[in-house]
Amino acid sequence: MNDTLGLDTINWLLIIKTISLVFLFVYFFASLVVIKQIRMMSKTIMSDTNKYIFFIGYFHMFVVLAILLYALIVI
């Protein structure tokens, strides 16, 4: 690989981009699973703290979604 944006470089970047996008889709799905998991857990143990845990869960999901959109649009 050289440091100019030649054909090899572009191919490598394309491979990395494709792998990263697949990874991000799986990761986004995992973040949705975490929300489901919190819902299941918070039915088992009900307390005031659960709402903060939901907030972190949704925050995490939106961060992953933002990265996914960034990857789709920018890179």
């Binding site: 690989m1 990761y27 998991q37 918070s42 088992t44 143990i45 009900m46 960034y70």
Partner: protein, 184 residues
Amino acid sequence: MLDSLIKYPKNIRFESEERDETIYYILRRHPITNLGWILLSLFMTLLPVIAIILITPEESNLVKYFPLSYQLFFFLIWYSITIFITFENFLLWYFSVYIITDKRIIDVDFNGLWHKRISEASLDNIEDATYSTNNFFHILFDYGNIMVQTAAEKTEFEFDSIPKPSEVHDVLTNLVQQFKKDNP
């Protein structure tokens, strides 16, 4: 709210709680047992910073090989994975609890994304409870295990790494004695 030993919790309920049931204790593993994943999270948080400090000019050429948008992308992925690992470990610690009520003991066990196991035993079925502190850390941080022998199909409960095991053991054995006296 994030305590590992909660006496007479006011705003906490559990799934199969009965109307006239009183919760005496909600117990979680001692916070020191979380040290492993906390250190891992700290390491993952600091690793990019350490890498930037330690990276040599020759190696920095390899980083510069990637466009800036890719570098930012990898950086964001790395920190979101760090958040994921930290949060998942916290959830498993927070929701895996042992509950002692005036009627029964309950072991709520979450393991991984899907695994959930709830075991319970009536105080009437408890035959014997013993506690143990097995190593240096147990004594230093005052935590240990309580083994509960029951007459039911599941013969043994283990309250693993709970804080103040002697105090909890005392309360549990007193409750069992009282329950058996009140319900002969």
